[in-house]
């Protein structure tokens, strides 16, 4: 096809002429239309739908503040701690940039956890949005990696010993573990070599992957269209032009909503940055204001709050608890055999996997299984689209008792998170073990409980009250 350029009148505005020159060479207007001005989103979004764009805002804050921090930071075991203090005390406004970055890390997880909760409540991971969800889980994993690598950089006591504990987790893997942790650290202990590679991951490797995944997440979303609080496919009811009857263009209708949400978010964010950047030791741990000392472990090591639910699961896995886990695995395999409609071969595979896991639990020690459970507790999120078999996507049309299951799961998650910040005692470990069972039970039993009960009728069109 020959190259074509529209003819504009000689007195057309300069902006129109510029766009007319660009569009045949780069799909600028087409991209803007496809993703913003003619992307039709359901008109019944509520405040839960603000957290996606807020996550994007926090990503921008983290990247911009990060760029400026790197200009003053020194990734060297002898200089790192002092260079952070230099940023805080001597660099003009350095304290603001640093506190924005450290508060941004926690804000990122708050926003992302709420964004994921929204997905859980309205079934946003269900068909046809499985890939949107999987990209999201990958983003969550990258965020955890980013937070972990970044936390070593200030080279304080918590940075150092936190990294020591997490890298040693890999040492629990049978046969290759000790060599693997040596390879990750690049030294016999966490050292300058470790700091340098974590710096590289934190400032370039993970952010590149993260941005790629965010693009994939949004492109996949815009391909299938957004879910909504009613869990109805708006694309099923369209007008003559193929535009969803319940859809409204993202711009300007939701851009204004998101600007409003950003304003509220920035008020809260600024309040934390200016008045409580350490957030009582939850956002910045007090022990991290002491330089790293490889010969002295702080009396209590706890990860930052956003990792504590998973860390609690790790700690709950003691050698006594292994018998309960074995019983749990056996009961689950029995349940698959008795109460599932899977094919015979699939059941056999489940049985064999169950047997291997039980034997493994008897052979390898509890430390290894703690690491496995912690990993699985995050990765299991990826299975949600295939575990949930409720006839209605949204919690609005599920049986009321489903809400109590979600509530129980939410409470167990928060309790695990709280316990993870505290030193363990026998009683707390027991509570964490019960919550671990609730956490995994919620996901693993979902194929059964999610389809039971009396569902409410799902309406044809979205619920919307003009105001």
């Amino acid at each position: 096809m020959a190259f074509q350029e529209k003819k504009l009148p000689a007195d057309a505005p300069l902006a129109d002429k510029a766009l007319n020159w660009i569009d045949p060479r780069f799909p600028l207007s087409a991209t803007w239309k496809a993703h913003v001005s003619e992307y039709y989103a359901p008109k019944n979004f509520n405040f839960w739908y603000a957290f996606g764009s807020l996550a994007l805002l926090v990503l921008v804050i983290q990247i911009v503040t990060g760029i400026f921090l790197v200009m003053h930071y020194k990734p060297d075991a002898n200089l790192a701690f002092a260079s952070v203090e230099y940023i805080m005390r001597d660099v003009p406004w350095g304290w603001l940039v640093r506190y924005m970055h450290s508060t941004g890390a926690s804000a990122f997880f708050i926003v992302v956890y709420l964004h994921m909760l929204r997905g859980l409540l309205y079934g946003s991971y269900r068909k046809p949005r499985e890939l949107v969800w999987l990209f999201g889980v990958a983003i969550f994993l990258c965020l955890m990696g980013e937070a972990f690598f970044g936390y070593l950089l200030p080279w304080g006591q918590m940075s150092y010993w936190g990294a020591q504990v997490i890298v040693n987790l890999f040492g629990a893997i049978p046969f290759i573990g000790p060599d693997l942790s040596l390879w990750i650290r690049g030294d016999y202990v966490v050292s300058d070599a470790t700091l340098n590679r974590f710096f590289s991951f934190h400032v370039i490797a993970i952010p590149l992957i993260l941005i790629g995944l965010v693009v994939a997440h949004i492109v996949a979303l815009h391909e299938v269209g957004s879910n909504n609080p009613d869990g109805i496919e708006i694309k099923e009811k369209t007008d003559a032009k193929g535009i969803p009857l319940d859809g409204i263009p993202f711009h300007p209708y939701y851009t204004v909503h998101d600007v409003m949400a950003a304003a509220v978010f920035l008020i809260v964010f600024s309040a934390v940055v200016f008045f409580g950047p350490e957030m009582g030791g939850y956002f910045l741990e007090y022990n991290n204001f002491i330089p790293a000392d490889p010969l002295k472990t702080p009396p209590h090591i706890a990860p930052v709050w956003y990792f504590t639910p998973f860390y609690s699961i790790l700690r709950a896995t003691t050698s006594d608890f292994m018998y309960w886990l074995i019983a749990g695995v056996a009961a689950y395999v029995a349940l698959i055999f008795v109460r599932s409609k899977l094919r015979g071969t699939t059941k056999m595979v489940a049985g064999i996997i169950g047997l291997v896991v039980v034997v493994g639990m008897l052979v390898f020690d509890a430390k290894f299984w703690g690491v496995v459970l912690m990993g699985v507790s995050v990765m299991i999120l990826a299975l949600l689209p295939w575990l949930d078999s409720a006839p209605a996507k949204s919690i609005r049309y599920r049986p009321d008792w489903h809400k109590y299951i979600y509530l129980l799961f939410g409470i167990a998650f928060l309790v695990l998170g709280y316990l993870g910040t505290l030193p363990p005692t026998a009683g707390r470990t027991l509570v964490a073990q019960i919550c671990t069972f609730i956490y995994f039970g919620f996901f693993l039993l979902m194929p059964w409980w999610s389809r039971s009960g009396t569902f409410k009728p799902v309406p044809e069109r979205v619920t919307y009250h003009p105001h």
């Binding site: 020591q164 504990v165 049978p174 990750i184 490889p294 702080p298 090591i301 020690d365």
Partner: protein, 202 residues
């Protein structure tokens, strides 16, 4: 002339060979990048054996030296301390140091004292659970975070694992194994070399 569906076997063969050669080169390059993660020659050199003079070590006291960035404890045990090991035999998870998963105990320390000379204990002061450094609790008797019949030993502040005066872990603690005994040897009565024994360097 229609050549759309015809495959030229010669060209297809070259294509496969090119892809294979390219793949091998790619994997080899990836291998080089993976290898950069290993400890560098400088890090290995810094992990060389350490010599310690223990002539000034009084009975019942402990000295900490750094080896490969890890704290190594040298504890000179009193006769009472050695006697306490008999009492803890039944309460520790692996009294004879037979486990090999976390670290192999060198055969010269594969005895009830876990040491070459009964009174001199040499262990790496890193908890086998997640790498924290336990604190010394030599005072016997009841005290916070410890059982009432405490005989003296070590307590890991991170997750509450306890070890006796031979670095043996008590049963049902998060730590899966005893404290590691590094390879070490005596050079004369009062000089210890850590990280090296008659068989060579660790």
């Amino acid at each position: 002339m229609s050549n759309e569906k015809q495959v030229d076997p010669g060209r297809r063969g070259l294509l496969v060979a090119t892809c294979a050669a390219g793949g091998v080169a790619g994997l080899a390059t990836a291998g080089a990048f993976v290898s950069t993660f290993q400890p560098s020659e400088r890090a290995k050199a810094a992990g060389a054996p350490v010599e310690v003079d223990i002539s000034d070590l009084a009975a019942g006291t402990m000295k900490t030296v750094e080896w490969r960035g890890k704290p190594v404890w040298i504890l000179k045990r009193t006769p009472e301390m050695l006697a306490s090991l008999k009492k803890t035999d039944g309460e520790v998870a692996d009294p004879d140091s037979d486990r090999t998963q976390f670290a192999v105990t060198p055969e010269y320390a594969h005895n009830e004292y876990r040491s070459i000379k009964p009174e001199i204990l040499v262990v790496v002061g890193i908890c086998s659970h997640l790498g924290c450094s336990p604190t010394s609790k030599f005072q016997p008797g009841a005290q916070p975070s410890l059982p009432d019949d405490w005989q003296g030993g070590f307590l890991c502040p991170c997750h509450g694992s306890t070890f006796d005066l031979a670095g043996r872990v008590f049963k049902n603690k998060p730590a899966p194994d005893n404290l590691e005994v590094p390879r070490y040897m005596f050079e004369g009565d009062n000089k210890l070399v850590i990280g090296k024994d008659e068989k060579g360097e660790a």
